[in-house]
Amino acid sequence: MKHILIIISFLAIAINSNAQDKNYESAMLGNLELLDQARSQEDYLKCASRFERVAAAEKSLWLPYYYAAYSLVVMSFDEGDGAKKDLILDRAQGLLDKALVLQPEESELHVLQAFLYPSRILVDPMSRGMQYMELIYETLEKAKASNPENPRIYFLEGVNKANLPPSMGGGPEVARPILELALAKFEAFEAKNSLWPQWGEEAVKAELNKLH
């Protein structure tokens, strides 16, 4: 009887912790599916809220913070009011900072940081442009130093170049090889697990099509 009790308690713990893990993964996968289908600002905000809940429960994991911040950054690009855009980005930055404390060397987090800055620029391009462009390059270098195989680095670099006029060292001729490199890296990229960031590949193809 004693043995059975011990077995039960172990089983219960095992079931419980297994359930917890499964619960995390399935919750995240469910949220990622919603994120995949998100189109409107409201959709992205809902996703961010969901990821934030997971983040609040799993304070030692960086991915929930990452996706919460990512959802907000994507949402911010559609916001027309500069003050509101800054408010959304302040929130996203707060979440991203928490993830960076957990995983300071994670390439994906630096990529997300470099993805956030352009939205800041859009609030006031004339006075913020120079300062944030420098920060973008700096952050992408950090991302490269941590993992040069991360395709999203080259995606952001390519898009930035494509949007800069040739007189400033940009233009389609400069952007194309970088975007092609990004595409090659995407094809070679192996996600570490099912929850790993996947975004960017379709956008690279779309951007390349625009250049052709």
Binding site: A27, I88, M126, S127, L135, P165, S167
Partner: protein, 708 residues
């Protein structure tokens, strides 16, 4: 095994029974719905968001003590410990708005903040550098702000009826004793420092904090750039000279160097001068900035700058009826070191040392006049962040000013004085609510030369009248020791005084800002004398007084047209004073009743071209017509100026290359600043007059800049 199975069924059955519903509404303090707030139990993934009416409904199978969390952008996160016992709960959650920089009430009376960092920026260093009429001069850009007067022959700031000496410049909190190049009569000067050296500049037209002393009317507060962000080098060639700058960045420190050489010789051949130059104006300067991070939070900034300018001309002194040969050579050194750090979570420390030595060699018709001014200052400011609602600032500084002048005439006249000014200030900033902020401060200052202690209380308040609007009020007492030119002859003078009253309304929304400010400034104890340069101290007193009142209006819009940024400022000024050698109360010659500036900037993004145009207007200025009985009853014609600039960004050898052109007085308006009169009347009994005009009409500068 069957037993285990049974237990599991019981467990799940129990948990299924325990599900309960929490529903309700999320609002802000006013009762308005907070839409899309995130509502969940901490530690569980389940949650919901509030709907368009702020309503929510959340089912949970958790039990016992659980922390309910509600969060949303712009609000403080709400949390409450709930005991879940299975019965449904209805809640009304009231969220408190976060004090963000945008919404926070802040005292705006008198202040034009120009920051690259803050979202509340009204003008930043790029704005200053790109204002067409400013020609790259900080003070020139602030001359397009309401409250400043257009005084073309001076180039300094005249604020709200105040004379140019009533404006003081501070850099990183330390006084800059001689911020302008030495000047010749009727030739405008400019600031010594490039706007690109500063990340933040604040122009205060009155009601400023107790941290600043020795300024009756206005303060320009410059904050030097922080760490350089990257290694960069640039060189530029101009039609008036050349400059170079270099920045180097290491892990925890950075160094920046810039140098400029400017010579107007070519310019004077291209653009007709009304001045007979013997040696064309020449300027040279070098600036070195070192920054170092110390520990996690400390920052050391060291700034040093050396400036030289010289020129020589035949000055047509109409009053004396003589052509006077005047030569000027000025060497100025300024060093400023400051350190900021956090001491624990509650204290901020800021300390600084500054040293300024200015040597001016004037040769006036063969008579050398050598003037050396030295100012040394040490300052310490401590800020205590008592709570989110209360901030206490206190500090003190010691300023030592030494002045020496040798006038070589038939004999050598030696004049000198020394003044030690220790001072203390205390200021509290209280945020009474999200709508109401209060600033109370006082400053005590002693002068060894005047042998007096001055106490200056200062109060300001701001009240938010709506989401985008607020009203500010300021009142304060200000004092200033008379200028060195007076103190050297009459050590027994007293400080001049002013009292400021300011009422400000500001509306800001989506990068559009409207400000209007009404003010009254009362002057007292202004210095009077019988004649300028009168050597007899008996002929000087402190019995002058005056007032200045008016309204300043400012509108800036960066949102209506994509790529267009424009501002309009208008000032109305009513002022009279009795000071210097005035026989009675009169409007001083620099004061025009109406001043207006329209500044437009447009970015043609597809061709990487930036264009700016400014129009400036000032109503007629007073001058003393010697042929009339009354004092200062003459009026000049009104002042007009249209200036423009064009900047084209391209690349050369794969490097950024910028071509910049700046034209002032595009339409060649014939402006008149005033009149001088001959000393004795002609045969008809009338004094002959001559207009004081700008030394140049239309002029253009061309700059090529290459970034390496």
């Amino acid at each position: 095994m069957r037993q285990i199975f049974a237990i599991l069924i019981i467990l799940t059955g129990l948990s299924a029974k325990a599900q309960q519903n929490i529903s309700g509404k999320v609002t802000d303090k006013r009762g308005d719905a907070v839409i899309h707030a995130n509502i969940y139990f901490e530690g569980s993934y389940d949650g919901t968001i509030s709907d368009e009416e702020g309503k929510f409904s959340l089912s949970t199978d958790l039990s016992g003590e659980q922390l309910l969390t509600v969060s949303f952008m712009g609000y403080e996160t709400f949390s409450a410990l709930l005991h879940l016992s299975g019965s449904d709960t209805l809640m009304h959650i009231i969220m408190e708005e976060q004090l963000s920089e945008i919404d926070e009430v802040s005292i705006t009376a008198g202040v034009f903040s120009a920051s690259d960092k803050k979202k509340s920026a009204t003008l930043n260093s790029f704005d200053i550098a790109s204002t067409a009429s400013a020609m790259g001069d900080i003070y020139g850009a602030y001359a397009t702000m309401p409250g400043s007067q257009k005084v073309g022959e001076e180039g300094m700031l005249f604020v709200r009826g105040g004379d140019s000496y009533e404006t003081k410049t501070y850099m990183d909190g330390m006084l800059v004793q001689s911020p302008f190049f030495s000047k010749m009569p009727d030739i405008p000067t400019r600031g010594r420092y490039s706007p690109l050296l500063f990340s933040e500049t604040i122009f205060s037209t009155g009601g400023y904090s107790a941290e600043f002393g020795q300024a009756l009317s206005s303060v320009v507060d410059l904050t030097t750039n922080g760490m350089e962000t990257e290694n960069k080098t640039s060189i530029s060639l101009m039609t008036v000279g050349a400059s170079a700058s270099m920045g180097r960045r290491w892990e925890n420190s950075s160094l920046a160097f810039s140098g400029l050489y400017a010579n107007n010789a070519l310019h004077h051949k291209l653009f007709k001068q009304s001045v007979d130059w013997i040696r064309d104006p020449l300027m040279a300067d070098g600036t070195l900035m070192y920054r170092s991070k110390i520990g996690d939070t400390g920052l050391l900034k060291a700034f040093s700058s050396y400036n030289h300018n010289r020129m020589e001309m035949n000055y047509d002194n109409f009053e004396q009826g003589s052509l006077e040969r005047i030569a000027l050579s000025n060497n100025s050194f300024y060093a400023n070191t400051s350190y900021t750090d956090e001491l624990g979570e509650k204290w901020l420390l800021k300390g600084g040392l500054a040293f300024n030595r200015d040597l001016e060699d004037m040769n006036y018709v063969g008579n050398p006049i050598q003037t050396t001014t030295t100012a040394s200052q040490a300052k310490l400011v401590m800020t205590h962040l008592t709570s989110e609602k209360l901030k206490i600032r206190m500090g003190g500084d010691v300023l030592l000013e030494q002045y020496q002048q040798d006038i070589h005439m038939d004999s050598i006249i030696h004049l000198e004085f020394q003044d030690l000014q220790p001072s203390l200030f205390l200021e509290t900033e209280l945020t009474l609510s999200k709508k109401l902020a209060l600033r109370l401060g006082a400053r005590a200052e002693h002068s060894s030369l005047l042998q007096s202690l001055e106490l200056s209380p200062r109060v300001a308040a701001a009240y938010k009248t709506g989401t985008n609007s607020q009203v500010s009020l300021a009142w304060g007492k200000y004092h200033q020791r008379p200028q060195a030119d007076l103190m050297k002859m009459v050590p027994g003078l007293n400080a001049e005084r002013a009292t400021h009253y300011i009422l400000n309304y500001q509306y800001r929304k989506n990068r559009r800002i409207f400000r209007s400010e009404a003010y009254l400034k009362q002057y007292d104890k202004l210095v009077r004398y019988l004649n300028p340069y009168d050597p007899d101290p008996q002929n000087y007193d402190n019995k002058g007084a005056g007032y200045a009142g008016g309204v300043d209006i400012f509108w800036r819009d960066q949102a209506s047209v994509n790529g267009l940024d424009y501002w309009i400022s208008y000032s109305f000024l009513d002022t009279r004073r009795n000071y210097k050698d005035f026989p009675d109360y009169a409007v001083p010659s620099y004061a025009s009743a109406h001043n207006m500036s329209v500044v437009c900037k447009y970015m043609f993004a597809p061709i990487m071209t930036f264009a700016g145009i400014t129009y400036s207007y000032a109503s007629p200025r007073p001058y003393d017509d010697k042929n009339s009985q009354d004092f200062m009853d003459g009026r000049t014609r009104s002042y007009h100026d249209i200036s423009m600039n064009l900047t084209y960004v391209t690349s050369l050898f794969n490097k950024d290359f910028i071509i910049h052109m700046n034209i002032t007085n595009l339409l060649g308006f014939k402006n008149v600043f005033g009149y001088t009169y001959s000393q004795s009347p002609g045969e008809d009994g009338l004094y002959e007059s001559r207009a004081i005009v700008p030394n140049v009409g239309r002029q253009a500068v061309l700059v090529f800049l290459l970034s390496l």
